[in-house]
Amino acid sequence: MARVTVAVSPGLLLLHRLLRRRLAAAALLVLVAVLAGGLLAPWIVPYAPQRMDILHRLAAPSRLHWLGTDEFGRDVLTRIVYGARLSLLVGGLVMLVATGCGLLLGLLAGYVRRLDGVLMRVTDALMAFPDILLAIALMAALGPSLIDVVVALATVQTPRVARVVRGAVLVLRELQFVEAAEALGATDARVMRVHLLPNLISPLVVQATFIFAAAILTEAALSFLGAGVPPTVPSWGNMIAAAQLYMQQADWLILAPGIAILLTVLSLQVLGDGLRDALDPRLRRLMR
């Protein structure tokens, strides 16, 4: 009775498991749509994002302007799509930078005992500040460009990743295969790269989606408070901030970007939950 080994790539298997959960599949669909919109913005939107039409300012949603126009007569749908571009760019970059730095710090703190105390106290100090406050303070010190926003938000999120990674490393390093690798004469760097890192991918992927969501939300909050990207850049937070004055006459101005933020962030959260369940079959079985 020869057992047949079916070669399925782990990525494909994960996708399959993920898509079996309806909510996660829906979330993925929304995100793909947002991503496509963001990437293809210049080709799919009906107007230029800065084009003003004073005659049709604050126009209600119509066939010409599906989501209406703002106080300068700019097309809201166009600006929402361009805003998606910015949100995804910021979210994606923050996710990459924060998970990268967090992974490195977490690995070092968890595996190199000498560094643990120092690194964790620093992360504690950073996490002691409320997210927004820390981000605003950093923005004030850095400046208002896109890169500055990314740096500020990554600084806010990195300690979280570092904490999660360190926790996972603390568990892993007590497993015997780590000790066995050390007994084979492997260097610290090698143990971290070959034996710890691959076993950290699952928690890291899940954490990354949550950071993506948090970054989008915080970026919007920063823009709303005027501490984010310059107000001329179409961003969801900027749009909501500008819409405050006209909320009573033109509620679509606030609803459109608000719903865009809600859908994107919610989808990311749902996707993160779905990924967590798909990556850990045992947990899923327990929950049923």
């Binding site: 050390e182 007994a183 084979l184 004469g185 076993n199």
Partner: protein, 334 residues
């Protein structure tokens, strides 16, 4: 007690753990030596310091909290003598896995679940012998065949979850023996396995040991296993060796009250017992905490023969005959 022919001489090893104010003396003056091709069984209950001794030799204990304070571990390999305690971490890494290899207790967690069997065996080979990926993979298959794993080529491409505990332990042995080490430290390699598999693994270790003329330090709490593998036995209690001698001396003519009690608490068949109705004897009390060792003989609080003199001073290891020695002032009366 320096033996010129010894491969490794552990001389008055002391390993302590500092936790806050407390100092736990996990290993408190352990000395022994081991020749090539010889097997020394380090026996003792949990917490007696036998695993810490093994890990001290490998210098794999996390420092801090662990600290090795005494005295030297002379490793005489290929004509050069080195004190393992004074080597740099880098020099030590060259010895680990190449000249001194280790097999662990828990085969289920000793293998990285995300690497194939072949990759894990190849790791040491590539690290120490500088083999190419292909050469290491080929040698990994040879090693798998040598530890009697059927269909090694297919198995080397599989992940650990497809292997049973016994198979995994064979893989661990293959990985440990990859560089033909002079000394193999086996830390309870059969404890997690069921009895038939235990026998197979012991048999395998013994035959490989003969083939490679390798010294083996066998850490165990199972006296049945001791009777099968050991040439010599050292019985540990609370961080010290309380009795040492040949296998026959320890198992048939133990002199230390602790060794006697230990042998007395091995379950036997009803027909083999002196009093078939009696309950299995147990040693009263428990191993003292390494942070609060009693003065004098550490076994005195649990010993039926203890007299005031036992707690007055730390007893020395007294020779009985040949290599047989015992750390008890009343051994003549036992």
């Amino acid at each position: 007690m320096s033996d010129p022919a010894a491969l490794i001489t552990v001389d008055d090893l002391r390993t302590i753990f500092r936790t806050g104010e407390e100092v736990a003396r996990a290993v408190d003056g352990v000395s022994f030596s081991l020749r090539a091709g010889e097997t020394l069984a380090l026996v003792g209950e949990s917490g007696s310091g036998k695993s810490v001794t093994a890990l001290s030799i490998m210098r794999l204990l996390p420092m801090p909290p662990a600290q090795i304070v005494g005295r030297r571990i002379v490793f005489a390999d290929r004509g050069t003598e080195q004190d393992l305690l004074t080597l740099t971490e880098r020099q030590m890494r060259r010895i680990r896995g190449r000249r001194i290899a280790m097999v662990f207790q828990e085969p289920m967690s000793s293998l990285n679940p995300l690497l194939t069997i072949g990759e894990q065996i190849a790791e040491g080979l590539r690290l120490h012998l500088g083999l190419s990926r292909a050469a290491a993979a080929e040698r990994a298959c040879e090693l798998l065949a040598r530890v009697n794993i059927p269909d090694p080529v297919r198995r080397s491409g599989e992940y650990p979850h497809r292997l049973s505990g016994g198979m995994r332990q064979r893989v661990m042995i293959a990985a440990a023996l990859g560089c033909n080490p002079a000394l193999l430290i086996a830390d309870e390699p059969t404890t997690a396995l069921d009895v038939t598999i235990q026998g197979q693994i012991l048999e395998l270790l013994r035959s490989l040991q003969q083939e490679l003329c390798m010294a083996m330090l066998f850490v165990t709490h199972d006296l049945g296993v001791v009777s099968e593998v050991a040439d010599r036995v050292a019985v540990m209690y609370a961080g010290r060796i309380v009795e040492t001698g040949s296998r026959a001396e320890i198992l048939s003519a133990p002199r230390h009250p602790y060794t006697k009690a230990l042998l007395g608490s091995v379950p036997r068949r009803r027909s083999a017992r002196r009093d078939p109705a009696a309950r299995l004897p147990a040693i009263p009390g428990q191993v003292p905490s390494a942070a609060q060792l009693p003065p004098g003989c550490t076994f005195a609080p649990r010993c039926g023969l203890a007299i005031p003199a036992c707690t007055a001073a730390r007893p020395a290891l007294q020779p009985i005959a040949g290599a047989h020695a015992v750390r008890c002032i009343r051994w003549r009366e036992t």
